[in-house]
Amino acid sequence: MEAIVQVEQMSKRYGEVQAVVDLSFDVYAGEIFGMVGPNGAGKTTSIECLEGLRHADGGRLSVLGFDPWREQPKMVERIGVQLQESNLPPRLRVSEALALFGALYPDPVPGDELLERMGLSEKRNSPIGKLSGGQKQRLYIALALINRPQLVFLDELTTGLDPQARRAMWDLVREVRQGGCTVFLTTHFMEEAERLCDRVAILDHGTLIALDSPEALIHSLDEEKRIIFHTRADPSHIQLDQLPGVTRFELNGERVMVQGKGERFISSVVAELEDQRLDFRDLRTEQPSLEDVFLHLTGRKLRE
């Protein structure tokens, strides 16, 4: 796979504070790459060094073959950026923003086409100050895509959005990737990283503590899964604790919890329930998540 972003031992400090320490990773063409970690972990500093907004103190950075600090003017022609702390004049209208940004590039995507894709067609004459948080973010994505970039940076895209708008945003990001654009995003929502990203870099205190696909990271925990269901029948005749992988079995009134690990754990338990014709309902499984990975790696919970 082609690495379009290469970072080797990047460091950045602000006075006494070491924001990023010896960070190394690659981003491959066509993937959704996520950087996660609590606030202050160094995510925004890292992404802004790659956008050429900040100068890394040390290390080698390459974005689409450019040095993001020295060759920023050339690089910005080919990347798209949505900044975390940024804005546009509140009295500027949506269509005017698109016309303005379009005029800055040689071959822009027509504004109306972008509005259509972002579901903002009805808002084309609205002042930006009158848009909702989700609409604003969609406009910022539209502006980030206007120059047909190869790579788009999205910094804390869904912070401040309600759950529904957040999900809609995930679909949008997937569509962007579908269109052939590589996505580099940061988030402090572990769930977002898990659902959206092909690969996740977990940062804490400016250092990279893990980098892999969400599935592999979770799998590496080797943590136990749980099956929980309700039943009116008496399940004590089923020897659930004898099944492969099962480590614990609890009966609490109508509620039954089975805990275990291994690839076949869930399927063997469910198959056994079916074989014994036990009348169960509301069966659900609980699996470890990226949140647990973070907890395991750092010994603390990721605060929102």
Partner: protein
């Protein structure tokens, strides 16, 4: 240069949509014409060399307009845009700083011209004010004055942290100048001591140049004013470019 035309157009529309800025640039000088015109009329007077008080006030009002634009609107807008992260967003586009400033200056010029047309139109209809100069010379004065005052404005913006501070600094600089330079009221009615102070105020040179050219002085009589304003433009422009901050 890419984006210059679009950016100028957008900047102009945003200026018009900002009620406070639009009021002080367009409506305020017009109100002064109505107010002082009603009080003093425009009868020829000895003090003004046989001209009326409105005749001599009108070209001086250009000082109010370029002062409002350059010393108030420019720094407050730029500092505000920086504070809100608007300039930061432009930094990750191919837009060059000087394209941004050029577009801003085009808007400033456009606003000055519109402001002057409005105020002179009203004064001409109500008080039949005189104009004895040449259009091109007056236009030149407008361009030079706008560039010089805006250059000062960009300097204030570079120094000030945040829109609030820019606003305070602008007011402290502009308001005394407005009265002491002869922009708000004819310099002839001010005492000598104050007229000496006015020699140190940049806006005074705007007012002198405009009044002179408005009544047909040849440009050669005003090299001092032209020199001072060109110097401010140059020095202010260099300093502003040197200390311009996107964030």
């Amino acid at each position: 240069m890419r984006g210059l035309r679009q950016l100028t157009w957008v900047t102009f529309k945003l200026y018009i949509r900002e009620p406070v800025a639009a009021f002080f640039t367009l409506a305020f000088p017009t109100m002064l014409v109505l107010l002082f015109g009603a009080i003093f009329g425009n009868e020829p007077a000895e003090m003004f060399g046989g001209r009326g008080s409105m005749d001599v006030s009108l070209p001086a009002y250009s000082g109010l307009i370029v002062g409002t634009i350059g010393l108030m609107s420019v720094p407050i807008t730029i500092a505000g845009y920086r504070e809100q992260g608007i300039l930061r967003r432009f930094r990750v586009t191919p837009l060059k700083p000087w394209t941004y400033i050029l577009a801003d200056q085009c808007t400033n010029l456009l606003m000055t011209v519109i402001g002057m047309l409005l105020v002179s139109g009203v004064a001409w209809v109500l008080f039949q004010i005189q104009f004895a100069g040449q259009i091109w010379a007056v236009l030149l004065a407008i361009v030079l004055s706008t560039l010089a005052m805006s250059a000062l404005g960009y300097m204030i913006a570079s120094v000030a942290n945040g829109a609030r501070m820019a606003q305070v600094v602008s007011m402290v600089i502009f308001y005394p100048m407005m009265f002491l330079s002869g922009a708000g009221m004819p310099i002839e009615i001010l005492p000598d001591s104050i007229r000496r102070i006015s020699n140190f105020l940049p806006l005074t040179y705007v007012v002198r140049l405009m009044r002179g050219l408005w009544f047909g002085d040849p440009l050669s009589e005003h090299w001092l004013e032209v020199g001072v304003l060109a110097g401010i433009t140059l020095v202010g422009g260099v300093l502003a470019a040197r200390f311009f901050r996107w964030e």
